[in-house]
């Protein structure tokens, strides 16, 4: 019943094709599918936290409850991607190869700032047939400070304090604007440690899971410090 990639319809039409047409429309093959999910990264003075749910879906169906959206590129740098899984996999593969080549040529790992630029360049390389991948890069920079970079699908990027992308982005960003960046509040802003940021991330995903049908099942969290990457998981609702 389900086809891997969707057929395009007129703008404004329901994106789920129920087989009943209201008016004649031209069917075109779309090379993109949306596999859902949400990712989030927050930087701190000496750490970065990056997280993603593990649900992969298409249309109204679940393809898997346990697929990772997080991909370590070096010991201090993790790429979190949501969007079309096949494009995400290909992008990871390309970045891995280029990262390996860098290591062979320069006898050292790429720094986060370099990875950030390389990802932007790789995405722009397909400016006219983009990778359908909404990326967030997180890591610790050369000075030991947490670094988070946000991307669009065609390689525009910026270093930010925090970033969220994917289907649940709209539910998470306003929450983090308030809790992390301290917007719209009158009390004293205080510094948040890595443990507290992890708890905030869990709360954000529970919230996103309540309202976004594509987010749920399990949450994967990676905390990046100068000493490496620590992974943990947290259960989310399966409905």
């Amino acid at each position: 019943m389900a086809v891997p990639a969707s057929f395009d319809q007129q703008p404004g039409a329901d994106s789920i094709d129920h087989g009943v047409t209201e008016a004649p429309y031209e069917r075109r093959f779309s090379p993109y599918d949306f596999n859902g999910g949400t990712t989030l990264a927050i930087s701190g003075p000496d750490f970065a936290v990056v997280a993603g749910d593990t649900r992969m879906s298409t249309g109204y169906e679940i393809l898997s409850r346990d697929v990772s959206k997080l991909h370590p590129l070096t010991d201090h740098c993790v790429l979190a991607s949501a969007g079309c899984k096949t494009d995400v996999d290909q992008l990871r593969s390309v970045l891995d190869i280029r990262s390996d080549m860098y290591r062979h040529n320069h006898q050292k790992d790429m720094k986060v700032t370099s990875v950030a630029q390389m990802l932007g360049n790789t995405l722009y390389g397909r400016r006219f047939f983009p990778y359908y991948s909404f990326n967030v890069l997180a890591g610790v920079d050369a000075d030991g400070k947490g670094a988070v970079y946000s991307y669009d699908a065609i390689g525009s990027f910026e270093r930010t304090h925090f970033s969220a992308s994917g289907s649940g982005q709209s539910f998470v960003v306003p929450l983090l604007d308030n809790v992390i960046v301290h917007k719209n509040r009158c009390d004293e802003k205080r510094e948040l440690g890595a443990d507290e940021v992890v708890e905030i991330v869990k709360d954000a995903f529970v919230t996103a899971g309540e309202r976004d049908i594509y987010t749920g099942d399990k949450l994967e969290i990676m905390v990046i410090t100068k000493d490496g990457i620590q992974k943990s998981t947290f259960p989310l609702k399966a409905d």
């Binding site: 019943m1 009943v20 879906s57 249309g59 109204y60 169906e61 679940i62 443990d195 507290e196 708890e199 869990k202 709360d203 529970v206 309540e210 049908i213 594509y214 947290f234 259960p235 989310l236 609702k237 399966a238 409905d239």
Partner: protein
Amino acid sequence: GMSEFTAAETPASIAPPPAGFSFENVKRNASLASSSSGGAYTQAKAMKTGTTIVGTIFKGGVVLGADTRATGDTTVIVTACTLLKRMLFRYQGHVSAALVLGGCDINGPHVYQIYPHGSTGKLPYTTMGSGSLAAMSVFESEWKEDMTEDEAKGLVERAISAGIYNDLGSGSNCDTCVIRTDGSVQMNRGVLQENPVQPLRAAIKRSDR
């Protein structure tokens, strides 16, 4: 078959019925009923539909009551199905309602499925909605004839659960409603409440705890 849906009077067009009473036939009926027509025609009597309805005030408000049986027409569920399908057909599918109609009448328990364009099906069991395939897979595996009420309730709960967990368009809790042939109706809101968010929130160590 289809015969139960065709009534003695079928409207000539599918336009909405006109409002108010039509007195077109008064003169004709009067002359037919009168002795001058030879007494061959006996006028049809208006049919009373048996029902009990009551109302009373009390200190805190009013209480209204009604029985759940309209005995004027003995085939109640077919009538309900017919009314719904005619209305939906009139709206040509623009009223996006897909229904499962269930109830008991003089002929026993019945289940109908009604689609947004007005087509219907009469079946021993049915599912509708985005989770209908998930639910039907449970029904097709486990339905059997002449189940007890507990067996049927359990089966329905398992079918809805399949939709809750495997269909992204469905979630949270399950409600059931049992309508028995003795006329009793039992609404069970939240018979399954397996997806509370509270335990997840409680597991998060917030700074105010």
